[in-house]
C-alpha cells in the first residue's frame, strides 16, 4: 500500500453528485414555490384585517332594531342581521376568533404531540403504553368530545380550544414517533449514545431537528381543520358563547333567515373558506419545499 502521512484523497470523487445545498431562506422558498407566496399573501391580508379591521368598523354587537335584515349597501357593506348588527363588523371581528383558535390549537397540539412523540418513540417501554392511550384518544369523536367538555365546564374560548386540541394530539404523536423511530437507527445517533450523551441532549440535538419540517407542514393542516371545527361547533351552538361574533355563530344565527337574507351566512362562509384555503395552500407549498420526496409521490 502506497501512501505517506498527510496524503490527500486525490482520487476521491464521491461528491460529484449534486451536493450543493439548497437555499432554504424564506424568500427563496417563496420564489420557487408560488403556492407559498400566494397562500402566504392571502393569509397575511386576512391577519392584517383581523388585527386592524375592528378599529375601523362599528361595534359588532351594537343592536339597531330599525335597520334589521338590510341587504348589502353603501352603509352596510355586508348588510345587517335580524338584530340590526353590522355583518361586516361581525365577520371582521370573527376573523380574530378563528385565527386565535387555529393558531392556539396548532401550537398546543404540536408542542404536546412533539413531547409525547419524542419520548414514546425513543423509550420503547413507554411506547406501548403511550400508543394505546393515543389509540383511545383517536377513537373519541371530536365533536362529541367538544359538546361533552362544554356541557361540563361551560362554553369559553379555552374549552373550545382544549376540545379541538385533544383529538389532534395523537396525529402529531404518530408523525413525530415515526420520524424518531427511523432517526434513532442512524449511526450518528448511535455514535452519540456510544460517547455517553444523555437522553435529553440526544433528543434535542440529534432527533428533534429532523421532526421540524414535517411538523411545520402538519401544523398548517391542524390550523386549517381547527378553524373549520370551531365554526362547526359554533354552528351547532356548542362552541364559543353566542354573544361573541365568531364565524360559526354568525352562520348559526343567519341560518333561520337564510332564504330571506342569504348574505348573513354567505360572507362569514366565504371568509372561512378563504382563510382555510390560504392556510392549506401555504401548508402544501411548505410540504413540497421541505420534503420534496413526499411531494413527488403524491
Amino acid at each position: 500500500m502506497a501512501g505517506n502521512p498527510g496524503q490527500v484523497d486525490f482520487s476521491e470523487s464521491a461528491d460529484t453528485t449534486l451536493s450543493s445545498r439548497k437555499d432554504v431562506s424564506l424568500v427563496a422558498i417563496m420564489w420557487r414555490h408560488p403556492s407559498v407566496f400566494w397562500g402566504g399573501l392571502l393569509l397575511a391580508v386576512i391577519v392584517v384585517i383581523a388585527i386592524v379591521g375592528p378599529l375601523f368598523t362599528v361595534d359588532p354587537v351594537a343592536l339597531n332594531p330599525i335597520k334589521r335584515l338590510k341587504s348589502p349597501s353603501a352603509e352596510f357593506w355586508f348588510g345587517t342581521d335580524f338584530l340590526g348588527r353590522d355583518v361586516l363588523a361581525r365577520v371582521v371581528h370573527g376573523a380574530r376568533i378563528s385565527l386565535v383558535v387555529g393558531l392556539a390549537v396548532a401550537v398546543i397540539a404540536v408542542v404536546l404531540g412533539l413531547l409525547i412523540g419524542l419520548v414514546s418513540g425513543y423509550l420503547r417501554w413507554l411506547d406501548a403504553i403511550m400508543m394505546r392511550v393515543m389509540d383511545g384518544l383517536m377513537a373519541i369523536p371530536g365533536i362529541l368530545l367538544a359538546i361533552a367538555l362544554i356541557s361540563l365546564s361551560g362554553a369559553t374560548l379555552v374549552t373550545v380550544v382544549i376540545a379541538i386540541v385533544i383529538p389532534e394530539i395523537p396525529r402529531v404523536v404518530r408523525l413525530v414517533r415515526s420520524v424518531v423511530l427511523s432517526v434513532r437507527e442512524e449511526p450518528y445517533v448511535e455514535a452519540a449514545i456510544a460517547s455517553g450523551t444523555r437522553l435529553i441532549p440526544i433528543l434535542w440535538r440529534h432527533i428533534l431537528p429532523n421532526t421540524i419540517a414535517p411538523l411545520i407542514v402538519q401544523a398548517t393542516y391542524i390550523c386549517g381543520s381547527a378553524m373549520l371545527t370551531e365554526a362547526i361547533l359554533g354552528f351547532l351552538g356548542a362552541g364559543i358563547p353566542p354573544e361573541i361574533p365568531s364565524w360559526g355563530n354568525i352562520m348559526s344565527e343567519g341560518r333561520t333567515y337564510f332564504q330571506l337574507t342569504p348574505w348573513i351566512i354567505f360572507y362569514p362562509g366565504i371568509a372561512l373558506a378563504l382563510t382555510v384555503l390560504a392556510v392549506n395552500t401555504v401548508g402544501d407549498g411548505l410540504r413540497d419545499t421541505l420534503d420534496p420526496r413526499i411531494a413527488r409521490k403524491m
Binding site: M1, A2, G3, P5, G6, Q7, V8, D9, S11, E12, S13, A14, D15, T16, T17, L18, S19, S20, R21, A128, E186, P187, Y188, E190, A191, A192, I193, A194, S195, G196, T197, R198, P201, R205, H206, P209
Partner: protein
Amino acid sequence: MAEATTAHPPVLEVRGLSVTLPKGADRKYAVEDVSFTVGRGEIVCVVGESGSGKSVTAQTVMGLIPRKDLTPVAGETLLQGEDLLKKSDAELRELRGVKMAMIFQEPMTALNPVMRVGDQIGEMLEIHTQMFAAEIRDRVIEVMKDVNLPDVEQMVDSFPHQLSGGQRQRIMIAMALALEPALLIADEPTTALDVTTQAQILELIKDIQVRHGTGVMFITHDFGVVAEVADRVVVMQQGQVVEQGTAEQVLKRPREPYTKMLIGSVPSMTPPKRKPITEGEPILAAHALEKVYGASGWFGRGRVVHAAKNVELEVRRGETLGVVGESGSGKSTVARCIVRLIDPTSGEVLIDGTNIATMSQAALRAYRHDVQVVFQDPYRSLNPRRTVGQSIVEGPMNFGLSEAEALKRAGSLMEIVGLSAAALDRFPHQFSGGQRQRICIARALAMEPKVLIADEAVSALDVSVQAQVLKLLDDVRKRFDLAMLFITHDLRVAAQICDRIMVMQKGQVVEQGLTAKVYASPAHPYTRLLLDAAPGKNAFLEQKTGN
C-alpha cells in the same frame, strides 16, 4: 479484440459519447468522449470509482437517464448498428428486454415485492411476444432452470421475500434473459451479495454468456470481480475513459498511472508478516456472549433467532482482531453488544476486567469512553445539521471537558487524521466520503478510548480511499496503543490489517487464529469456502509485487 469483431459486428458500439451534467455540478460532463465496444459473447468490464460516470454510461445506453438533467450532447450508441440516442421513448421501450436488458445492484428493490417471481418473468414475454399463458409458463420455468435455480416448479409461484439474495439476483438474470437479448448490462450485480453468493452469480454470468453468446457490459468498482469475469476492461475516471484493453493487458501491464494506482490499492489476499502480540492482559474480552432476538414480547411470541451464540474473544492493547463473516453471521451483533448499543442476552463483556454486559445504563456511562465505534456509512455517521467540530467535541464534553479544551483536542486530532483543524467549522456535506470517515475516526479518538471498533468502516469507500483509511486506522492503533476490533466481510481488507482473525457463521465462531495461519491453512470448511470465494483470488492480481 480484432479477431472477435471481424466475424460479427459488435453488439454495442459507443462512439464519442458525451453527457452533460446539470448546472451547478462540479464538472460539466458526467461522461465525456467515451468510446468502447462490446462484442458478441464478450464480457466488457467498465470499472471505476464512484463518480466516474460508469453508471451514467450504462443508463444512457438503456435510455434510462432523466434527459432533462443528463443530456447526451455528442456521440452515438449503436446497438447492432442502430443508434439508440436517436430512438423515441416508445422505440426504446420495444428494444429493452428484447435486444438489451439490464440487471441491477439491489435485487430486492428491483423486483416487485407483491408479485410472484414467475409472473414477473412472464410479464416480459407477455409484453413483447404473442405467446399464450401456458407457453409463457413453460418458458419461464425453462429460463429459471437456465439460471440454475433449485425446485423451479415451486419457486415460480413464490414471492421475492421468500427467496435469498442470490436467488433474487438469479430471478433478475432470468428476467433479463427471457427474450434472449443481444446485450446484457449488469450494473454492480454482485455488490450487495455475500462473497460466496457473488462467486456463484459471477460463475452464472460467465456461463450464460458462453452458452447464449450474449454481449455483457459489466459495471463494477471491484478489481477482484474484474479479474474473475472480464474479457476486456474499460477504466473510467471523472467521466473519461482512462485506459482500455484486454483483461490481461490492463490488469497485468497497466499503462496509465491511475489504473496502476487502482490496481495497487486492491488489498492482497496474502497477509503481511506480523509479530503476534502475546504480552499483557486482554483489555477487551467477551465470554459466552449470547444475543437472542424475538424470545418473548407483550403481544405473542415470534421466531427465536440466535444472532450470537457462545462468542468468546480477547483483544490485547495494540492488537487488531478481525471478525469476518457474511451477512447474518452475527459479527455486527457482537460489536453492538460490546458497545452496549444493544443489550446482550447473557454472557460477559469485560473492558479492562470490568463486566459491562449487565450494567445499568447509568453505571455504564462511566465506561462509555473506553469503547468507541467507527461505522460503515460515512454519509450517515455524522449529524448533517452540526458542524464537524460540534460532533467531535460532543463526547469529551459529556465527560466534563470544557469546550475550549475539547476543541483544542479536536483540532489536533483532525491533524492526526490528515485533515486541517480549520475544517472544524464546516458541515459534513462539505466533505467527501473518505474525509468523513477520517472525521469519524477523530471523533472516536477524542474520547481517548481503550478499544476501537471498526464496523465495516472501510466497506463503503472507493478502493483508493479505502487503502488510505485502512492505513490511518492502523497508524492510530499503533500511536494510541488501541485494542481494535475490525469487523468486515472483505477478506482482502482483513488480511492486511488484522493480527488475528475470527470467522463467524450463523452467530457462532467457527474458527479463530493468527491471520497468516488461518489464510494459509484454514481449519474449518466454511473458512475454506470463504477464502475460495474471494473474487480474483486465483487471477494475476496475486502476482503483483509490493504492499
